[in-house]
Symmetry: C2
Subunit: 407 residues, 2 copies
Amino acid sequence: MVNVALIGHGVVGSGVAEILINDNALVNEKIKDELYVKYILDLRDFPDLPYSDRFIKDFNRILEDDSVRVVAEMMGGLHPAYEFSKQCLLAGKSVVTSNKELVAAKGAELLEIAREKNVNYLFEASVGGGIPILRPMAQCLAANHIESITGILNGTTNFILNKMIVDNMSFENALKLAQDNGYAEKDPTADIEGHDACRKICILAALGFGKHVYPDQVSTEGISSITLGDVEYADRFNCVIKLIAQACREDDGHISATVRPTLVPREHILSGVHGVFNAIVVNGDKTGDLMFYGKGAGKMATASAVSADILDCAKHLTSRKYLSWTDGSDDYVITPDKACRLYVYAKAEDYDALCKSADSAFGNCTVIKNEYSKEIALITANEPESTLREKCAALCADTVKILHTLY
Amino acid sequence: MVNVALIGHGVVGSGVAEILINDNALVNEKIKDELYVKYILDLRDFPDLPYSDRFIKDFNRILEDDSVRVVAEMMGGLHPAYEFSKQCLLAGKSVVTSNKELVAAKGAELLEIAREKNVNYLFEASVGGGIPILRPMAQCLAANHIESITGILNGTTNFILNKMIVDNMSFENALKLAQDNGYAEKDPTADIEGHDACRKICILAALGFGKHVYPDQVSTEGISSITLGDVEYADRFNCVIKLIAQACREDDGHISATVRPTLVPREHILSGVHGVFNAIVVNGDKTGDLMFYGKGAGKMATASAVSADILDCAKHLTSRKYLSWTDGSDDYVITPDKACRLYVYAKAEDYDALCKSADSAFGNCTVIKNEYSKEIALITANEPESTLREKCAALCADTVKILHTLY
């Protein structure tokens, strides 16, 4: 018998309890052993649940019970999730989590403790909800050098952008709809400003390239500046705007990492990822592009990923999984001046001067000109980003907006 | 040190040798041990390779060498691949393969021997080339009841259909182009008639639903009957035609399994899978739809999947992976009469009678009528398949073609 403790009985935690307890036959069949949820730690009471007697309020009962071999932390936030996880690992228990904030902040340290104690620290649910991504990257791509990771990692922003694209809804109205549907929090900052996607690309980059990436090392830009005008111009260039998180292997052991609204050409596989779905394209030197797609959030999808990690730990109480990376460094993440194609939007009271300067700087590109609103939009040729930005600076414009593309 | 033997030095085998020998540092880092390719079995000589001294022609040298713990079989075909794999497993060696024909025919038996001998039999490369699909299904979806598996599993037919759709090329010309590009064999029967996709859905169904499915239990239809006319009508219904392999959980412990050309609506994620790419949509009761996408064939992509399995075996010499299923039965695969929407094409010299009978049978559907060529095309409403087929039989037509849809 393998005893398990659950920390947190919120959306994800209650889903995990339901799977492990109500679907116990499936679970036991998978691990060829009996899995028992011994404790559920939550400050609230749940007297109506058939397993209400398993709820506790004192973390130390889990920590001090040597019969508990696997602990699932589903509290969210950094504290006390960090302390609880660390103490459990130090006590020789495997720990599983859906807490992306914690893994992005403290993953390297917690993985190192797990390694020392010969237990597992798994967090498949922290990226892409129910989408299998971390384990396939670590195991199935083991014979690859990963070149880049490109993803739509936040369902809320993808839902909002999708509503703008398909239904011509304003950003504000789409956000309100997302909140009304429960896809966005009352305070939507973490989603809208890209912080959630940033944490996830940190975890993917760490696993793919081997060193911890801290959220503040990632250049992060949200979607609140995207207008219906941008969406329409993108459409005329046969593109859709998505919040794209990307990490790339660069020269000399460095990587680059960004989160930003990006024009995705309609022939790109990521352009077909609609609504609250997430998708991650991993480019391996042997496999080429692989894509993993599915619901990036939701109670049962996320609970399914946490549960699979729990089963994996229960099956491998004494053997360790591949998942690991080392600590990063201040200069690990760089901003290289790579060749790229940019989307450029510009507006000027002096429309003639704007057009003239655009023709002079970007004469070889298709420029969409809108005399009525005194604005232009174009997608540049493929040149070093610094060169393109110099050209943009030379535009006679009152406003210039620049977005990256996946061309 | 872990000694490995490779059987077969063809396209995939030579790719695996390159990865394991030339990229040895990466490989050793992944398994935290030294992996050594001790033998490569092939009837041909490769005197110019730097590792030409490792080639042997006698299988028994591998079988009798107890220091060889992992054997990769990459010969293809049933014999002697079956005998070699069985003997290696019986001798307590883990076996890895890319041989879908063998796994589809003998998987249950070989997995059972592996279980008895406490070694692994892994075959990630047998489905979807470099796409991680079997391990994610077995491990990451462990807490799910899988409801259905739907895939584009054959790159050759997808390439041909894509050429028909995008370039308006005839089936014959597209096939010739695929052959000229090396995507199709000189004898393209296994691809074109769906046998290759059939073997792969057998493996996916066995893993997903727990019992072996034999290729002759799967209703299999190829793409050679698809005309440019069908492709054009599909386009007018906002669909693309794909060769879709599907297995579904049905009532009372049965499953259904089919391979057939299918109309895929453009809003379906599988409609965006172009060229030689493959993709598999797995529906789990907790995760909902997940999609796995990538190159389904090719030397290094497939070799990457075989190599990852070898590394997994080398890391887990004494512990077993989830992968397993039991033998099937004659009545395991059924053909239920489910509600569906069908594409119907009909042609008749007596065009007026055809139209009249179509209006009578399918009056509630949009019917595309082509008086010039005396043919019609329609997509039915959602009704039991038997009812729809009765209605089709009542059409006053000289020719009727019926295709399934993913509506």
